[in-house]
Symmetry: C5
Amino acid sequence: MLHIEFITDLGARVTVDVESADKLLDIQRQYGRLGWTSGEIPTGGYQFPHDNEADFDWTLIGARKWTNPEGEDMILHRGHAYRRRELEAVDSRKMKLPAAVKYSRGAKNTDPDHVREKADGEFEYVTLAIFRGGKRQERFAVPGGNRAPAQASAPTRPAARPQPAARPAPAPAQDEETPF
Amino acid sequence: MLHIEFITDLGARVTVDVESADKLLDIQRQYGRLGWTSGEIPTGGYQFPHDNEADFDWTLIGARKWTNPEGEDMILHRGHAYRRRELEAVDSRKMKLPAAVKYSRGAKNTDPDHVREKADGEFEYVTLAIFRGGKRQERFAVPGGNRAPAQASAPTRPAARPQPAARPAPAPAQDEETPF
Amino acid sequence: MLHIEFITDLGARVTVDVESADKLLDIQRQYGRLGWTSGEIPTGGYQFPHDNEADFDWTLIGARKWTNPEGEDMILHRGHAYRRRELEAVDSRKMKLPAAVKYSRGAKNTDPDHVREKADGEFEYVTLAIFRGGKRQERFAVPGGNRAPAQASAPTRPAARPQPAARPAPAPAQDEETPF
Amino acid sequence: MLHIEFITDLGARVTVDVESADKLLDIQRQYGRLGWTSGEIPTGGYQFPHDNEADFDWTLIGARKWTNPEGEDMILHRGHAYRRRELEAVDSRKMKLPAAVKYSRGAKNTDPDHVREKADGEFEYVTLAIFRGGKRQERFAVPGGNRAPAQASAPTRPAARPQPAARPAPAPAQDEETPF
Amino acid sequence: MLHIEFITDLGARVTVDVESADKLLDIQRQYGRLGWTSGEIPTGGYQFPHDNEADFDWTLIGARKWTNPEGEDMILHRGHAYRRRELEAVDSRKMKLPAAVKYSRGAKNTDPDHVREKADGEFEYVTLAIFRGGKRQERFAVPGGNRAPAQASAPTRPAARPQPAARPAPAPAQDEETPF
């Protein structure tokens, strides 16, 4: 038996029993669809393989796609809206990094220091997830979905798994312009 | 089986077993009525849809209505009294925000930095909850209650659900004047 | 089923199963008698009704009465000794506060910032509990005890409930003079 | 049923079920022998009665005796070596303290502020335990052991209780000279 | 019954039931192979005996060997790559330390203060593990493996134990040059 600790969409601390390890991602999808999250965003953001970005199942981390009033595709996670941004490959003598896709937002004055990253000038931002390198893992994809083209705004196919409860649209505070 | 972690009105850390996910809000109401809370107030306060404000069930977050000695309607949460305040819609080139209702209090010198928000001048305040945008969710309403007019001071209808124990009036320290 | 998390008198983290919610205070008394505590002292100290002070059951929060070498009545909680102090009612234009009884000690240099409160001059102190206003709650009283006169030094009647184990006298470090 | 949370010698977070409250110290001894600890060192160090020092059972807090390369008797706890030091009684107008035995080490630059105590000059140290005043408690003594003379270097008698597994000698980093 | 708390490779907080204490290391290996970790890296890094370094089973702490694009052998732990470095024995009047092998990386600006260690100049680094002194413990070795030569790049023999799921290659962000 396993037990996974969530913070619910209402901020409550709730543990859910899980029958076996192979059921764990299903449970994360099921409750992630309600906006429940488990654990903190890792420092520097979640790291996923680049080739998982196109059809990444955001419910795995309690996030979902959201179109802001300006019509932009965003990712909503715990009330914060993150913007998609493509990072070109770096190939200098000092650093060698493959191309990446990053989801980030501007830092707010209530964000703790250890999640703030510096950008050009005085901008500081917070990263939700970065997709870079690695090898695609099927377990991170939207279940039952055909592989979508490499664009975050690709429509998500309806999930085949049962949903314990429909989640009505939450009320996200609209972010200030995120520089990244 | 689920398990929800509370801080009781006496400050003790107590976990309560919950039979199934659809019983969770009932349990939160039942113990929230005693002043028990689960998890922390999210940074920037709880976010709820604007149209839930009139008949919001404050027991969901362990809070309750309270009239202070000056006759003002306040919301009491973990010994702090929060004042209702209406925020007008913002529609500038830089920001576009719908009208909102915010419950906040003046910051105290024992409040940690990450909950303090700056206001005009040197005032700092702490937000309990903000009701803005979104779509009304019935699950947040006082159960069995008719929809009250859009005023926090609307009398709460007696809850239909069984109460495990009556909560005698606690002894809230009266807040200093909260600027917000 | 409920589960309450304690820090034992030896500092260990121990959870105790509790059959039902109405047994919870009994369990807190039973283990509080051994010096076990659950949760942190709330910021600014525990808040209780003024009329509970005379016969307050300190085992509820893992504390106990203690007479220091100078013959003064103190309250001992997690190795710290707190002194009783009566606060007069405040009735100014800026603030209106009923009379209170406060248990506090001088701050030590190992106390974190968020528990330190400023006093006159450079004194800083830490509050364990404040009894002010509100309505007496029987559940906070020493069980089976007649109501004692309004003095912390009143002898506590022997508790009627079974004690799982006698607690030998611990070895409290004697506090420096507490200004409050 | 009780449940005690440990940090294992490998740093893992492991909870152990305990049948009843009177078995708790046995379990703490059993796993403490492996270097497992429960909870944090209290601020200012563990406080024990003075007369428990001679035959104190260090397994209760996951510590053990260790002789450093210079032949000195030390107490090893979570990879840190603590040195025994006798404190004379203080009997001034300002403070009155009985004689004590303290186990402490010099502070390292990775120690958080709240565990550092100031000594003469610029020295800072960290206390594991202080034995002062109070009344001897048999439950803190090495089980089955004859009372040893008042010296930390007294040989520990073999414990009568079953040991779940022998603990091979760990690899403590040798501390810098501890001033205290 | 025991229960071990993990952070999964996805950052979720999951507890796994363990039948008995002697099964604990098996469970740590089984889930560590998936990149799950339990507890924090101890301050100053994990401490292991020097003679365990050659065939240390990195799955015990949720880490694994990884060859970076420059062909260097690194240890990967929670998305950070650590470099192997041999420390010579110190034998001065002030300090006496046996030779050691240390796995460390350069500090990042999101690393909290208490894990940063100072090096020469302005470099700061973070230690994952240090192998120094002590006596080899078989329980830390790769199970079923022949003892490899004293080199971190020694090929790991396939583990004999059942693997619950293959872990596809993750997508580690390549570290900046680590000075240590």
